[in-house]
Symmetry: C2
Subunit: 333 residues, 2 copies
């Protein structure tokens, strides 16, 4: 599947993809803005701080693209609710993640946690979970709602795994496990991509092999997305990241580059790694050859995502999903 779209330089590819679903994304944006314009004078400014105009809207774009693939014209209202529901669930989880990580900034701006404090941020996250659930219910499809409810659980479980990676023993050399890493990011990141992809397939009545292909696409795309995020934490600049290089390690979070560094190093860096010198640890990861290895794992995941697309009908939407998968490992942020 060497589509013309996927051979374009990637920034252009993404522009082409987003142009396909431009009107759908505009409607999603307007639904999110509408949600933040509640009469509740306490809630409204907090919702306005997290809902409108923020983020790449990658997950709604996936839902909208897949919504165009069904032979029957998908119900535009239901599809909008699906895209909105996925983005609301993403936003809710970010609000709670920032509490868990005690993060004061995200993409250069103050987090809701930093603005309104722990208590209100917990409750606004809960309110957003409710709005996400209501949007999924408004699709009218119980299969979609079931997947939504399971996704919420998988995300929480992934985050608990993640928090525990941090809380249980900092930087323990033996504790670094690939299986655990992939299980964690499967829950905290990939499950939401699965909801966007498989959920929209269920909603628009694609057949079972196609819905399954979308699940495989979403799962691998989500894993690749997170692996590449974890690579960027070592390779991007502080300006691109909006936070110090090596932030994960500074927080005590073990990601794939660190695990691969251990395997490559074969014991050589162990002593250095068990010190408290995080700058040295970051440099060890950067110079160990672990980064190209991690990138290669991300590319393998992208290839799996792209291969799954062969089950789906050929067309501009499939090409766009292909281009999106290729884009995931060619971002700078």
């Amino acid at each position: 599947m060497s589509s013309p779209v996927s051979t374009l330089p990637h920034p252009d590819a993404i522009r082409t993809v987003l142009a396909l679903v431009h009107s759908g994304l505009t409607r999603v944006e307007s639904s999110l803005t509408h949600l933040s314009e509640t009469d509740d004078a306490i809630l409204a400014p907090m919702l306005s701080a997290v809902l409108p105009g923020s983020g790449k809207r990658l997950r709604p774009a996936l839902a909208l693209l897949i919504g165009r693939m069904s032979a029957a014209t998908a119900d535009a209202d239901a599809l909008n609710q699906m895209a909105v529901g996925v983005e609301l669930l993403h936003t809710a989880s970010l609000v709670h993640d920032d509490i868990v990580d005690e993060s004061d900034t995200r993409h250069g701006g103050a987090t809701l946690y930093a603005r309104v404090g722990n208590a209100l941020a917990v409750l606004v996250g809960d309110y957003l979970f409710s709005q996400a659930a209501q949007a999924c219910v408004a699709t009218g499809n119980l299969h979609v709602v079931r997947l939504f409810a399971e996704t919420l659980g998988a995300m929480a479980q992934g985050q608990i795994d993640d928090a525990n990676r941090v809380l249980g023993g900092r930087h323990s050399w033996e504790a670094l496990s690939r299986e655990r890493y992939y299980r964690t990011i499967g829950g905290k990141t990939a499950s939401l991509f699965v909801l966007a992809c498989q959920g929209t397939g269920l909603l628009t009545g694609l057949d079972a092999p196609q819905v399954n292909a979308l699940r495989v696409y979403g799962e691998n795309l989500g894993l690749a997305f997170q692996v590449f995020d974890d690579i960027l934490d070592f390779t991007a600049t502080e300006a691109e990241l909006g936070k110090p290089v090596g932030s994960d390690l500074r927080q005590g979070t073990i990601t794939l580059p660190v695990i691969l560094m251990r395997d490559v190093a074969d014991g050589r860096f162990r002593a250095a790694f068990e010190t408290e010198d995080v700058d040295l640890q970051v440099r060890l990861v950067q110079e160990s050859g672990a980064i190209p290895l991690a990138l290669s794992e991300a590319e393998t995941l992208v290839a799996r995502a792209r291969a799954a697309l062969l089950e789906l009908p050929a067309g501009v939407e499939r090409d766009a999903l292909d281009a999106l998968a290729a884009y995931v490992t060619h971002r700078t942020q």
Copy 2:
């Protein structure tokens, strides 16, 4: 409707009610225990700390009683999921409430927040929301799931109102509003009683006037329950409460007895009330005549709940719901 059940001494009335749904409650308990026996070694002990064997199971009992009222035999599995879903939602909200209130103890035991800290308690609450949603989805009824999703939002909004009552200006004399109080407790407490009652009516296919009557019953029962809780905070002993008398006021939370005290006092206690002497403030509320007035409001709500029951078919289940309503204002904890 002066049923024989409701004229019994109340502890006996409750025993009679619970005996009616004993097998259903046993099944709910076993479902909750089963949920806590997950393979996830991190999650299992945290779930075991909050799920099995705790609480009065009042909300599942409501669902199970109402499940027996339908002419057609209700699907026992779906009804169990409904009762489990309501209790899980209740548990999830308690886990997050304890974070919001920074509460270390509940009913004499350590809260999850105290045991595992802020970050994990946020995530376990989210996981429980997911399990609650999955149980509601497993009823197979999209109307029930819609009501669940709306309830989650109403509860969060009520808690946000509540947190803001505390955070915005301590004890401000003018800020005390009955409307605001009832709106807050309607969201944070009564909405869950509505889900248990109206939701089960929807699930078992009662007709529209009966479902509406269950909504009115649940709403008024929930409001009465919370008003009486707020009265107990001034009238019960520290041993019964498991926390100091007047805890709400000590946290800066304004409840109905305080609002009625202001109205009764007609300005006389204003100066004293705007000091920081909480012991004095508690005594003012206790001695102002506000407590009997608040009790009378609770009794009015109970009477409204009981009156709504007239729309429902006569029988032991209706008598039991009547007795439960009467019990709400005759508890010691």
